[in-house]
Amino acid sequence: MSAEAKKKPGLAIWLPLILFAGFFALVIWGLVRPADREVASAFIGKPLPAFDLPPASDDRPGLSTMVFKAGKPRLLNVFASWCVPCAVESPQLAFLASKGVEIDGVAIRDRKPDVARFLAQNGNPFARIGKDDLSQVQLAIGSSGVPETFVVDGKGVIRYQHIGDIRAEDVPMILRKLEEAGQ
């Protein structure tokens, strides 16, 4: 009896630590598990639908699907002059452009003077800008808001969809996706 009495507290004292270790293992798993909390875009791995948009700006050509089949991965950025996060992400786009990434824009439900002012204020990282007055292209590529950015490989296939503004910490990830798309 006395031996048992001595033994029992000895083990029980470690019980909290053991429980904590269990908790720890569980949450470590929770952190490293693949993040599947967002519904993956249904358009990843599919080719861009055919479109041909008129220019949204006087100094850049419009945008058509053909551009994306030239063999080099590109970024397709869906934006609008009325969208505040779009202005917030412009330094990141400018940085990507300075790294030699070719970026094409689709301006959603916008007017030329507004686009011009937006670009004048926030810089113009775009090679081409298409004007999508009816959100047709936007809807066709599975984008439901602005800003959104797509990584499109050299054959015109969507490889990655970024929802929301590109933040500074997202830039390396975007570059990596572009690199993967180029392989």
Binding site: P9, P16, V27, R33, V84
Partner: protein, 654 residues
């Protein structure tokens, strides 16, 4: 300039924390004795410096210095003053800085005034405090510098989540934070006592005010958070058992248990190892809560600032502190001397039951919160809600509340319910129990629609409310010490809150309807009429506002104005419910969308006695405050007295 000053001061504070830790550890060894004098002043200066750093960040936010990244990302020049202020801590970096600030200031305060503890235990405590702070300093300075500048100043700030632009929410997180961090002081005391194996009444008395203070803030934070969720989410509920809510409830449960075991240790020198254990658990729960909220590991309706990377940093800190503390506990607990004995019928035994039951509820909540994660590890997604939490926690809560009616009447060490005890305890408690039974019987006979749990809640509340005042019986009320008043009011608050919760689920009525202007609906005793809908504008939002004329029975109608708000920067929507509070309940109105046919969705609830939930919470906090004031006043009187004696001795010595 101010940003650079803040950063420099923060680095200095971190360096002092290193010094505090190293000097503290060395001072505990015989060869480092001469360093002992260093620890207290360093702790005080560290606290002062970190407070300066926090003040620097506040001033950056108030002046909306857009060259600072944190300000640009979280504030806006057009935001009202109070939300600029709240923006300081309404983000990850700022809240971490607030965390170390409270820790540093509290540590400095302990160093300045704590004279009861043996010097070695105090030094170990301050070293522990520095150790905990250091993790957060590292976090701040290495991965989330709040003072980081932008290469070019931003033209305008990105604003604040519209859901966060609410006065309740602006002050709710820091309230909880103060509670969490207060528990870190209790944790440091526990570590200090374990290191020197000096667990006794002095330790409990030194720790108690900090636990009480933390507990008051946690109580207020939870109460306010519940009220906030009630009126902003527009679902009419006041507690959703959401992970974020559970994250704040778990430290409260542990702190409540700690508070009670502390009083056993302080008065009777019993439950030594257990109290130390609870000190560790209470702070673990704060860290676990912060981790669960920040990491986004569990999905929550209120998750705002989710970032798995930051989550892993907090997890690493959690592993070091809690793993380390539990290991230390395992090594040292068996050498902590056994406490004083007590009988089965004694106040100690009642408090042990309270502790066991609170820990049971804590376990239930923790398991329920983590269960979705556990099943996901096995490939099944589940969510756990009220059908689990309500009945299972009641299994522990109801016996605990029954004992709560008796426990405060029992004497320490040994008591009897017969003979002399019968008149003092058994009779009055029996009357209260009869009251409970009568309510239960009444519900069973006359109100079949009330479910079991609300019925039990009503019954227990009816008995507990008078029982909580029994400790005052036969006392001179003016001479009754403040902590006793605190206990009575706190326990009464539990009864009041319980009554509110039970009657909310027992008696609420709801009406959901599509209404045209001019339409009339009946909600319980209220007659509501939709008068019209029109636009209104606020400083940074526009809204559609309904005008509802609500009449209670035959009284003249009052006007209610529920709104659907649209925020401009950043864009977002929020429903603003309208409440009309009477002494016997609350009318709750929500405006929904306009249908295609010109009708508007309106939702109304009549919730009898629902405000009692939050009045009860406020009473509980008030009870804590009275107890704290009583303890602190006694401490100050004693400090003054010892100083006088020391002064006289000094004079006589000369």
């Amino acid at each position: 300039m101010i940003a650079e000053l803040g950063l420099a001061v923060l680095w200095m504070a971190a360096a002092l924390a290193v010094l505090q830790l190293v000097a503290g550890v060395l001072a505990l060894r015989p060869e480092g004795r001469q360093l002992a004098g260093l620890v207290r002043p360093v702790a005080v200066v560290q606290g002062a410096l970190v407070a300066v750093a926090f003040a620097a960040l506040v001033s950056l936010f108030l002046t909306t210095d857009l060259s600072v990244k944190l300000v640009a990302e979280n504030s806006h020049s057009m935001k009202p003053f109070i939300f600029k202020l709240a923006g300081t801590w309404g983000n990850h970096e700022g809240s971490m800085l607030l965390w170390v600030t409270i820790m540093g200031v509290a540590g400095g305060f302990v160093a300045l005034i704590e004279k009861r503890l043996p010097e070695n235990t105090l030094i170990a405590t301050l070293a522990g405090q520095a150790f905990v702070s250091l993790g957060f300093y590292a976090f701040l300075l290495l991965s989330s510098n709040p003072f980081e500048r932008l290469a070019e100043p931003a033209p305008e700030g990105a604003g604040l989540n519209p859901l966060l632009q609410d006065i309740g929410l602006a002050f709710h997180p820091p309230t909880l934070y103060v509670g969490y961090v207060g528990l870190s002081i209790a944790f440091s005391f526990a570590i200090g006592a374990l290191v020197t194996r000096d667990v006794g009444p002095a330790f409990a008395r030194a720790m108690r005010p900090w636990v009480l203070g933390a507990w008051i803030f946690l109580t207020l934070g939870i109460t306010a958070g519940s009220y906030w969720a009630y009126y902003t989410l527009g679902w009419g509920g006041w507690w959703f058992w959401d992970p974020v809510e559970n994250a704040s409830l778990m430290p409260w449960l542990a702190a409540t248990a700690l508070l009670h075991s502390c009083s056993v240790l302080a008065s009777r020198n019993a439950l030594k190892a257990w109290t130390v254990m609870l000190g560790v658990i209470a702070f673990s729960m704060s860290m676990v809560g912060t981790f669960l909220v920040r990491s986004g590991i569990l999905t929550s309706v209120h998750a705002f600032a989710v970032d798995p990377e930051r989550g892993s940093f907090i997890l690493a800190l959690l592993a070091v502190y809690i793993g380390g503390a539990l290991t230390l506990f395992g090594l040292r607990a068996s050498t902590v001397t056994e406490g004083a004995r007590f009988s089965f019928v004694s106040r100690e035994a009642a408090l042990v039951l309270n502790n066991v039951m609170l820990c049971g509820i804590l376990g239930i909540v923790l398991i329920g919160t983590l269960y979705p994660l556990l099943t996901e590890a096995m490939g099944v997604k589940v969510s756990v809600g009220p059908p689990y939490f309500n009945p299972v926690s009641a299994v522990f809560a109801i016996p605990m509340m029954l004992v709560m009616g008796v426990g405060p009447l029992l004497r320490w060490r040994q008591d009897s319910l017969e003979g002399k005890g019968a008149a003092r305890i058994t009779l009055p408690v029996g009357i209260c129990a009869l009251l409970s039974a009568a309510v239960l019987l009444g519900v069973v006979l006359f109100a079949h629609h009330i479910k079991l749990l609300p019925a039990l809640g009503l019954a227990v509340a009816a008995g507990l409310a008078p029982a909580s005042f029994l400790p005052l019986r036969g006392r001179n009320l003016r001479r009754t010490p403040l902590p006793t008043w605190g206990m009575v009011i706190g326990h009464f608050g539990i009864a009041v809150a319980l009554f509110g919760m039970a009657s909310e689920s027992a008696f609420s009525t709801e009406k959901l309807a599509a209404m045209r202007p001019g339409d009339v609906q009946q909600v319980g005793p209220w007659t509501v009429k939709l008068d019209g809908i029109g636009p209104v504008a606020g400083p940074n939002w526009t809204a559609l506002e309904a005008t509802v004329a609500a009449g209670y029975e035959s009284a003249a109608p009052v006007m209610l104005h529920p709104q659907a708000r649209t925020f401009s920067n950043p864009p977002g929507n929020r429903t603003e419910s309208a409440l009309k509070t009477r002494w016997n309940g609350q009318l709750y109105a929500v405006l929904g969308e306009e249908g295609d046919d010109g009708r508007w969705q309106m939702r109304f609830w009549w919730k009898p006695f629902v405000p009692m939930i939050w009045y009860g919470g406020a009473l509980i906090a008030l009870g804590g405050l009275l107890a704290l004031l009583g303890r602190v006043a006694a401490d100050i009187r004693r400090l003054v007295a010892t100083d006088k004696i020391a002064y006289r001795r000094m004079k006589q010595g000369r």
